[in-house]
């Protein structure tokens, strides 16, 4: 008989416990089919409350203008664009996990990809709010699209990084959504076929698009996933590269840096994985999915965090070196006076960023720490704070004291409506995430089944005898051909 799957015992299992295919279905569908818990309702209502606060804040901004946000001369980009870059960065982990790790054939991605992709989509939705509402006259937002108009037609400036951003973010959102939903189809079909209640049958029937699991469909589905992964891989890298161009192509000291694209991409992956950890450490506990999102998954992601955190650290040091090496006094002033100097008005934010992003993740060099849930959760929050301050440092400390001392701005603090807008996006994000975790399987069912016989604990244990065999024996017993 053909041995379809084999993986060395040295690798630890990715699915714990004794499972068969049906058990996998049961485990993952249970939270979707059960009534929501009290905890869910509490979390959901808090999120909706935050969302309403956000809507009120945005309404204030639309009525009275961006002055409501305490933006001033020379700080035209304050919390809002900081938040935009922060959310977009978070939105990078999902597609990285589902696309790049698919190409790298990393089996562990199957446990976390569905939730991470959902997180990506919600994060990009949140990110998109900031540049849109920051326009002030938001009813003219469609001006950013190249459409035939009565002003000439006057086309948009295709040479501008801000326009590249429009294309990058909207493409990223669309492609991530398609990737996520096409992967969801088979799992929605599973829920449809298990449904006992009428509305559930109808809802999942519509959502599953009539998926049957036919071999021909699977063949095309596999081809689709692979090509979408191939397309998304450069896309992920391009999106934050283009976001960094918003800064790097300007001539503002502190922004005008060629290192920005790789530095931003590494930072995006860093913060994205931190957010995945924040969500999954809680999700796996609340939905009792510890067998699928195992310590192994948590540890691997912590490794990614320490790697990308260190890359970001090197980027910070490179920036400082280049500021000194350039011998440009404005560049030096931006880095050594506006940032490094702890006595300067925003010096504290630079050191907070350094501490959270560069120093604290180094704790993950220790295996014990990588496998400690409390440390992981705490660190994921720290990293997110640090990455928020990174964007704050880049934006605010570069513009609040520039070329002319007479134009130096007063100390910028956000207004309640600017904070409310940020809180509102948390509301949007978590409202979406709570709904997702209630109505959709948070783990990719079909993909877990696909790796079960290779990476499942109970199957893996049986592979010991296979490893004892000589090459000839192995080939004789298990050699098989896929073809006809």
């Amino acid at each position: 008989m053909a041995l379809l799957r084999y993986e060395s015992q040295v690798r630890s299992p990715l699915v714990d416990g004794t499972k068969d295919y049906h058990q996998v279905t049961e485990d993952i569908c249970r939270p979707v089919e059960a009534n929501p818990s009290k905890l869910w309702w509490v979390g959901f209502l808090i999120s909706v409350g935050l969302l309403i606060f956000g809507i009120v804040s945005v309404t204030m901004e639309v009525m009275y203008g961006t002055g409501q946000w305490n933006l001033n001369k020379t700080i035209g980009w304050g919390w809002d664009i900081t938040n935009f870059v922060w959310w977009v960065g978070i939105g990078h982990a999902g597609t990285l996990i589902s696309a790049i790790l698919l190409l790298f054939r990393q089996g562990w991605r199957t446990g976390v990809n569905r939730a991470a992709e959902a997180m990506t989509i919600f994060a990009v939705m949140c990110a998109g709010q900031f540049p849109i509402w920051h326009m002030g006259r938001v009813w003219n937002a469609f001006f950013v699209l190249p459409y035939p108009n009565t002003r000439g037609p006057l086309w948009v400036n295709f040479n501008s990084p801000l326009l590249w951003d429009v294309f990058a973010i909207s493409t990223y959102f669309t492609v991530s959504l398609l990737f996520w939903y096409s992967g969801l189809l088979p799992d929605l079909a599973t829920l449809r076929d298990r449904a006992k209640v009428k509305w559930r049958k109808h809802f999942y029937g519509v959502a599953a698009f009539g998926w049957t699991g036919s071999t021909k469909h699977w063949q095309r589905h596999e081809a689709l996933s692979l090509v979408l992964a191939g397309l998304s891989t450069p896309l992920v890298l391009s999106v934050h590269t283009i976001v960094s161009f918003d800064f790097a192509t300007s001539v503002v000291p502190g922004w005008h840096t060629t290192i920005f694209p790789p530095y931003f991409v590494a930072g995006a992956i860093f913060s994205g994985f931190a957010m995945v950890q924040t969500l999954l450490v809680v999700t796996r506990k609340v939905l009792a999915l510890e067998d699928y999102i195992t310590m192994e998954h948590i540890e691997v992601m912590n490794k990614v965090i320490v790697l990308t955190g260190s890359i970001v650290g090197i980027a910070y040091l490179t920036e400082l070196f280049m500021a000194w090496y350039s011998a440009v006094s404005y560049e030096e002033f931006a880095f050594f006076q506006n940032r490094l100097n702890l006595d300067s008005p925003y010096g504290w934010s630079y050191w907070l960023m350094m501490g959270c992003n560069v120093l604290s993740p180094q704790i993950f060099w220790f295996r014990k720490m990588r496998r400690n849930l409390f440390v992981t959760f705490f660190m994921s929050i720290l990293v997110n704070i640090g990455m928020w301050f990174e964007r704050f440092v880049i934006i605010v400390t570069s513009v609040y004291r520039d070329y002319l001392p007479s134009a130096w701005s007063t100390y910028y603090t956000p207004s309640i409506w600017e904070i409310g807008f940020y809180m509102g996006t948390f509301g949007l994000f978590f409202t979406c995430y709570f709904l997702f975790s209630k109505f959709f399987p948070v783990i990719a069912l079909a993909e877990i089944k696909h790796i079960l016989k290779k990476n499942g604990e109970n199957f893996k244990n049986n592979m010991g005898e296979v490893e004892e065999e000589s090459t000839e024996e192995f080939g004789h017993k298990h050699g098989h051909d896929h073809g006809a």
């Binding site: 400036n157 040479n159 189809l185 029937g205 009539g210 049957t212 979408l228 450069p234």
Partner: protein, 192 residues
């Protein structure tokens, strides 16, 4: 609507299903389809399905996106309304790379997903029959199409001998979603 008769075998292990598919085809039966809860690599080849051309379609969509972006931007900024941006040339191709790249990806992804849905006939509100609802859970379902010459009893017992756990006969109305792949599936002996 014509009614077709199928002999349906349910398997509970893909390692049994694989050789069974080969034996069934070697015996000359016509496999209507095999429904599985997850993708099984190589099953399409074992069933004699041809490779999908979805990749090619994706490539064509991508090229279309590239051409659209370069063509449109060139026309808009060099022909239709020239704007002097800091003295740079009107035809400033390097600055257009980001938008061109994004449109390439966008066209390829959207086009491929739509093509995928069209080829598999998947859309909201579409209902299809896949013989056994557990085929999206843990059962591998092989459906053989019966012709006038097929003896059902023989087919059923044959399926049991190759490892099917449960075999039954089902009648289905042939609508557009049943048996779309007839011309795709070649008979086994013709290949070898």
């Amino acid at each position: 609507m014509a009614v077709k008769k199928f002999v349906v075998g349910n398997f509970d292990d893909e390692a049994v299903l694989f050789p069974a598919v080969k034996k069934v085809r070697r015996a000359g039966y016509k496999i209507h389809d095999v429904f599985t809860p997850f993708p099984i690599h190589g099953l399409d080849h074992a069933m004699g399905l041809r490779d999908t051309s979805l990749h090619t379609a994706g490539f064509i969509y991508g090229i279309t996106g590239t051409a659209t972006a370069v063509g449109f931007i060139t026309w808009a900024l060099t022909v239709d309304w020239q704007i002097n941006f800091g003295g740079k040339p009107f035809f400033s191709l390097p600055a257009w790379i980001p938008v061109t790249f994004e449109l390439t990806v966008l066209f390829a992804a959207v086009g491929m997903v739509l093509t995928f849905c069209y080829l598999c006939q998947l859309a909201p509100f579409v209902k299809k029959d896949h013989f056994n609802p557990r085929s999206t859970d843990d059962t591998f379902v092989m459906a053989l199409e019966c012709t006038d010459k097929t003896s059902e009893a023989e087919a059923m017992s044959f399926l049991e001998t190759v490892g099917a756990k449960e075999v039954k006969i089902e009648y289905k109305e042939t609508e557009w979603w049943i048996g779309r792949y007839d011309k795709d599936v070649k008979l086994f002996h013709k290949e070898n």
